[in-house]
């Protein structure tokens, strides 16, 4: 099993969809939400994803395809 800490940013239509739940169910990934900020225009969730490495990759791809921005929690490190 592998773990990944990521920040998800939801904008537009993605805010209204239960994408985190769908990803968890479809790819057998366990999300552990640690922090979130939500407004009517944009949402941000910081969470840990737990699952098989292969499933984590698929789950992240699923979110990205749906329009969610998936980034490492530490932000961009190329300065």
């Amino acid at each position: 099993m592998a773990k990944k800490i990521v920040k998800l940013t939801f904008t537009g239509e993605t805010i209204k969809q239960p994408l985190t739940f769908q990803m968890a169910k479809k790819f057998d990934v366990m999300p552990n939400i640690r922090r979130a900020r939500v407004t009517d225009k944009i949402g941000e969730i910081v969470l840990e994803l737990d699952g098989k490495e292969e499933n984590l990759q698929k789950g992240i791809k699923f979110l990205e395809k749906a329009g969610v921005v998936v980034e490492p929690v530490i932000g961009d490190i190329i300065e």
């Binding site: 900020r37 407004t39 530490i74 932000g75 190329i78």
Partner: protein, 417 residues
Amino acid sequence: MSYVKGLKCRECGREYPANILFVCEYCFGSIEVAYDYDKIKKVLTRQEIEKRPKNMWRYKELLPLSKEPSDGLTTGFTPLVRSHNLAKVLGVKELYIKDDSVNHPTLSFKDRVVAVALSKAKEFGFRTVACASTGNLANSVAANAAIAGLRAFIFIPADLEQGKIIASSIYNPVLVKVEGNYDEVNRLCSEIAAKYKWAFVNINIRPYYAEGSKTYGFEIAEQLGWRAPKHIIVPAAGGSLVTKIKKSLQEFYQLGLIPEFKTKLYVAQGEGCAPIVTAIKEDNEIIKPVKPKTIAKSLAIGNPADGFYAYDVVKKSGGWAEAASDDEIINAIKLLAETEGIFTETAGGVTVAATIKFIKEKRIPKDESIVICITGNGLKTQEVVADKLAKPLKIKPSLGSFEEEQKKRPTADHYSI
């Protein structure tokens, strides 16, 4: 002697010992260094600071080391230039330029953060340091690691221009060209940082590294005669610098080193990569990541780690934010050079261009003290202005030819906004 109390989560406030930790174990929030200010107040006075060598370590009690500093001993205390020519062009009364384009050893403000990171890395027992960078950070880690005798790994995107590679490879680090896009390089470096026992300066050493930026703010206050200016305009990439300038002035005020701290802080970014500016203008505390497209490469961070904190600091100070287009950046670089003799890189162009907007919009009054932050040197990014400058006069080797040609070129006072 250390004055560090420990580390503290900026989100949930949870406290930790001063070890290697860069996100809160509970909420994954970012971590910052906390100090024992009561203890510092007993030893750090203006007189004590003024007695010390003119480098960034004259404020060492407010930096996160446990031992005496061993790196960056010639870094900092860069000029705070009182501007007369640019002030005249902008129509303002009291304008200063904090000029880190001449910081030692690699001509950018990154030498400050890297000095702290390397000294701290050695305290932790690391023998290898690393970073991922497209410019100033790479130069600084490579040079400072060479001075410190540490092994350095520098990760760069494979398509980085040759000129930028030379400015790091001259110091003989292990340069690693990663064949991938920006996001892939970013992700790979996170994975390497998690696996290898290296001091990745802006990942696992980040809370300490970032503290080095405070010295930029300390110097502004000291060089102004122990006072905080009314307005400071700061370029933003990851957003850390503006938060650390705020922290520095707050600390000086708390320690009684400056009488007042009512500075308004302003952020400047390139138009093609302005997630913090957008958040401030739209009054939205959630930063929306963007794909960078700007000539201001040193500010091209689409997912800024300290974006929210930068937003928060600017809003609470009563400041504002502006983005500069590529043309505005180039014109501002030229303006600063033609008025003050300072050749800055694109980040400096962004800051000057944004300052012009703040003054035009009357967000900054013309009769109050203003400091513009110049954080890097234009000699490193000459390509952005190369074809925008006046061509040399071409003459025959005769006085007649010279006199004929020189009539074609206007001189002096040719700058305007």
